[in-house]
């Protein structure tokens, strides 16, 4: 490897790192500003360029006094996201195994078409689904409840689980299934005793994708709730008033990404152990 190549390589890595990290650094410094620290033009260094204040952070945890209490929504978001992800993962994994291992034919419909049907659920823009989902949950009496949101999120997340897991199972040698069946396992036992225990990388990736997409949904969390159930993104945009509060939104951005950074570490550790080999394909 030539020296020039090395230099270029590290330069590229550092350049991209700077791009990735810039919004966070900007959010970090902005979160300590007040209107005065903003209106004079871009400033970066507290004390030197602007007088820092904790107001942006306080707003996230205060109630009654112009802030939002982020704790409840945080918890609600966790409950809804994790439940929906788990259910999607279970159903999606089963379906993906079926689609990966057996042949389905009905008219012109093949396995690939069924897989595409699952994924195609994500094509519909959420805007349109707002009213139908509203009516559906109204009929079920589940508006403004966590359970209602979980149901809707299952429809949103299961396609992702199916997609990741079909690709994952396609990389698991079929001979493993055959061996298990020859050793006396029914298809379900094969799945449960042999395939599932060896699918951790796939499950981790599918599960984490579900978590990411679920955690960051804004639209349904917003449309299908009133006052009882509030998820994190909805609670945070409640700060977005006529005067866009750069400070508290910045703080909120940093707070909301925190649990998912843990997710990034989990993902990475799977990558590094090479366990993800074949987890995504």
């Amino acid at each position: 490897m030539s020296a020039l190549y090395r230099i270029l390589k590290y330069a590229a890595i550092l350049l991209w790192s700077a791009f990735v990290i810039a919004p966070f650094l900007w959010a970090l410094t902005t979160s300590f500003k007040t209107a005065n620290g903003i209106t004079g033009g871009p400033t970066y260094i507290p004390w030197l360029q602007y007088q820092p204040s904790l107001e942006g952070w306080r707003l996230l945890f205060r109630s009654g006094g112009g802030g939002i209490q982020i704790g409840g929504p945080y918890l609600d978001s966790l409950i809804v996201t994790i439940s929906a992800s788990l259910i999607s993962l279970v159903l999606g994994t089963l379906a993906a195994y079926g689609l990966s291992r057996f042949t389905f034919r009905a008219g012109f419909v093949r396995n690939a078409d069924i897989t595409f049907f699952f994924i195609s659920q994500r094509i519909m823009p959420p805007v349109v689904l707002a009213i139908p989902f509203f009516l559906m949950l109204q009929f079920l009496g589940l508006l403004d409840t966590k359970f209602g949101l979980i149901i809707v999120y299952i429809a949103l997340l299961m396609p992702i689980a199916v997609w990741v897991m079909v690709d994952f199972f396609n990389t698991v040698p079929r001979e493993l299934d055959e061996s298990a069946m020859l050793d006396g396992c029914s298809p379900f036992e094969t799945f449960w005793r042999v395939i599932l225990p060896n699918s951790k990388p796939g499950l981790v990736v599918a599960g984490l994708f579900c978590l990411i997409f679920g955690w960051n949904d804004f639209f349904f969390a917003f449309t299908l709730t009133f006052t009882q159930t509030q998820l994190l993104p909805v609670a945070i945009v409640a700060l977005n008033s006529s005067v866009t509060p750069w400070w508290s939104l910045s703080a909120a951005a940093l707070v909301s990404v925190a649990p998912l950074v843990a997710v990034a570490f989990v993902l990475e550790s799977y990558l590094s152990r090479g366990n993800l080999a074949g987890a995504i394909r």
């Binding site: 390589k9 590290y10 590229a12 890595i13 991209w16 790192s17 791009f19 810039a22 919004p23 900007w26 959010a27 902005t30 871009p42 159903l91 999606g92 089963l94 379906a95 079926g98 291992r101 057996f102 389905f104 699952f118 994924i119 659920q121 994500r122 094509i123 519909m124 823009p125 805007v127 707002a130 009213i131 139908p132 989902f133 009516l135 429809a155 299961m158 396609p159 199916v162 690709d167 029914s186 298809p187 379900f188 960051n216 804004f218 993104p233 939104l249 910045s250 909120a252 909301s256 990404v257 998912l260 950074v261 997710v263 990034a264 993902l267 990475e268 990558l271 080999a277 987890a279 394909r281």
Partner: protein
């Protein structure tokens, strides 16, 4: 139970749950698209294909498709190339690669609607740091959000920032799972890095690439939050995409019937074009594999 019957036990629970959740909204949307549900007239009357006839002449809708195509294809392509590049950079021996890998993944974890606000403040032409940087490089401040081309670029930048990690993850995982033998063979043949990439790496990465691109295209086509926050479709209609236009018609204007017709048309067009894109990609990328 035979293997033939047990296959349904795997697929049906998920399929049934999904259909149960999605069927009503889908059928309802189709039904509403034949109604005149409007802000002043809620309810399901029947007006035939009126909404669809109106949509045919709605140049704003069709123009928004063009912009969507540009935005989605442009940003996904960039994400793919950058993601691939980054994955290649931190694939093999690099100092602190675990740190960089985590770092590169993080933007994907952020909530788009909130990050869009942060980005808008970054692009703020007089109060944001982007133009500060431009000034530092001794250029004139640029109208990031108020000039058509740049506004489009700004939105694409945000999309690239947020979703390149997705491509990066998929492609890095793919690279890490590649067998070593073909690379050894290429090395023995004396192939340089570029040749190795074109002849070995890229073809082997084709299947995963197609999957990742299709998924990203689906997601990118729904772009709404960032457009809304960053430019709200402006200047003029320069950054108005299909789903944003549907949003304006459906939830701003509350033309529920018309928006349903728009969406159903959108759904059909997207399903068809994605299928075609998937086929074309498969042909383009997999043929090279055999060559």
């Amino acid at each position: 139970m035979s293997a033939d019957r047990s296959k349904f036990v795997f697929v049906l629970p998920g399929l049934i749950v999904l259909v149960a959740i999605i069927l009503f909204p889908l059928l309802f949307t189709i039904r509403v698209s034949f109604s005149d549900w409007d802000v002043a007239r809620p309810g399901l009357d029947w007006i035939g294909a009126t909404n669809y006839l109106r949509l045919v002449h709605d140049t704003r809708f069709w123009e928004s498709f063009g912009r969507l195509a540009l935005m989605a294809v442009g940003s996904v392509l960039l994400q793919y190339m950058l993601g691939f590049g980054l994955a290649l950079l931190v694939w093999r021996e690099v100092r602190a690669r675990r740190f960089f890998r985590v770092l590169f993944l993080i933007p994907m974890m952020t909530t788009p609607v909130i990050m869009a606000v942060i980005w808008r403040t970054m692009f703020h032409e007089s109060l944001g740091p982007v133009n500060d940087l431009v000034r530092l490089l001794h250029f004139a401040p640029l109208p990031w959000l108020s000039q058509a081309g740049l506004a489009m670029m700004s939105i694409i930048t945000v999309e690239v920032w947020q979703w390149t990690p997705f491509m990066f993850l998929m492609l890095l995982a793919g690279l890490l799972s590649l067998p070593r033998e073909p690379f050894l063979a290429a090395a023995i043949d004396g192939a340089g890095p570029i040749r190795t990439f074109l002849r070995v790496t890229f073809p082997m990465m084709a299947p995963i690439s197609i999957g990742a691109i299709i998924i990203r295209l689906i997601e990118a086509s729904k772009i709404l939050d960032s457009v809304y926050v960053i430019t709200s479709g402006g200047p003029g209609t320069a950054t108005e995409t299909s789903s944003y236009y549907i949003f304006i018609r459906g939830l701003r204007d509350f033309q529920v019937g018309y928006a349903a017709a728009l969406s159903f048309t959108y759904l059909v067009i997207m399903a068809i074009s994605l299928t075609i894109i998937a086929k074309v990609l498969a042909r383009a990328m997999l043929v090279r594999d055999r060559a």
